[in-house]
């Protein structure tokens, strides 16, 4: 279950979708829009994506997680467009037989998503300026 959406992410449906009697552990990660970043106040974020490649990379991430851990089920969703403070920008749900597998797989999925999936955010600072977040530039 891989999804790019401009609507609110339904993390409850994702969590229910990964629950199964084969798994003893479910880990859900939510990335949410934080107000303060390095002392500066944000009022909103704009997320832009390269949809075809982003979905392809998210599917690759899912396959890699399944190779590395005994994943029963997983779901990844990323939102695009204008997000307000506290909104969920990304959700990852994963179920495994045992809890450390689910924690490790969930952390791998979000860490690697942030490195490889072609999605970008633009800060809308409280002072009225905007700024693309492009690490290393």
């Amino acid at each position: 279950m891989i999804q790019l959406t401009r609507d609110e992410i339904d993390y409850v449906a994702m969590t229910e979708a990964v629950r199964t009697p084969q798994a003893g552990a479910v880990v859900l990660f939510l990335g949410t829009v934080r107000e303060m970043t390095a002392g500066r106040r944000t009022v909103a974020l704009d997320y832009e994506g390269y949809p075809e490649m982003a979905e392809s990379k998210m599917r690759e991430l899912a396959e890699e997680a399944r190779r590395r851990w005994p994943v029963e089920k997983l779901a990844i969703a990323h939102r695009l467009g204008r997000l307000e403070l506290g909104d969920v920008s990304v959700a990852i749900a994963v179920s495994c037989p045992h809890r450390h597998q689910a924690f490790d797989a969930g952390r791998f999925l979000i860490d690697t998503l942030k490195e490889t999936v072609p999605i970008w955010k633009k800060e809308n600072w409280a002072d009225g300026t905007t700024e693309w977040v492009h690490p290393g530039t």
Binding site: Y50, H78, V90, K114, I119, W120, W132, H134, G136, T137
Partner: protein
């Protein structure tokens, strides 16, 4: 050959276009595309080394050859999540 290049994020804003068409020799590489793009769009020059390229939805380095009719994209480092 003519190559359509999709641009994203700050690269799209600096070039003021979400897709540009450039002329490359047959068997042109990503490195040649990088040079042509930053020659045409002066605004992209400060980020020339950090621009990333994708061909057919896969990251491609400067040595990668661009196939005819391949889907090509150019963008700065990603920041999703």
């Amino acid at each position: 050959m003519k190559v359509q290049v999709k641009l994203f994020a700050r690269a799209r804003e600096l070039a003021n276009s979400d897709v540009v068409e450039v002329e490359l020799p047959a068997d042109g590489t990503v490195g040649q595309l990088r040079a042509v793009l930053t020659e045409r769009y002066a605004a992209l020059r400060p980020m020339v080394r950090s621009l990333l390229f994708a061909v057919g939805n896969e990251y491609a380095d400067d040595a990668a050859v661009i196939p005819p009719n391949g889907e090509v994209a150019c963008f700065p480092p990603v920041s999703g999540g």
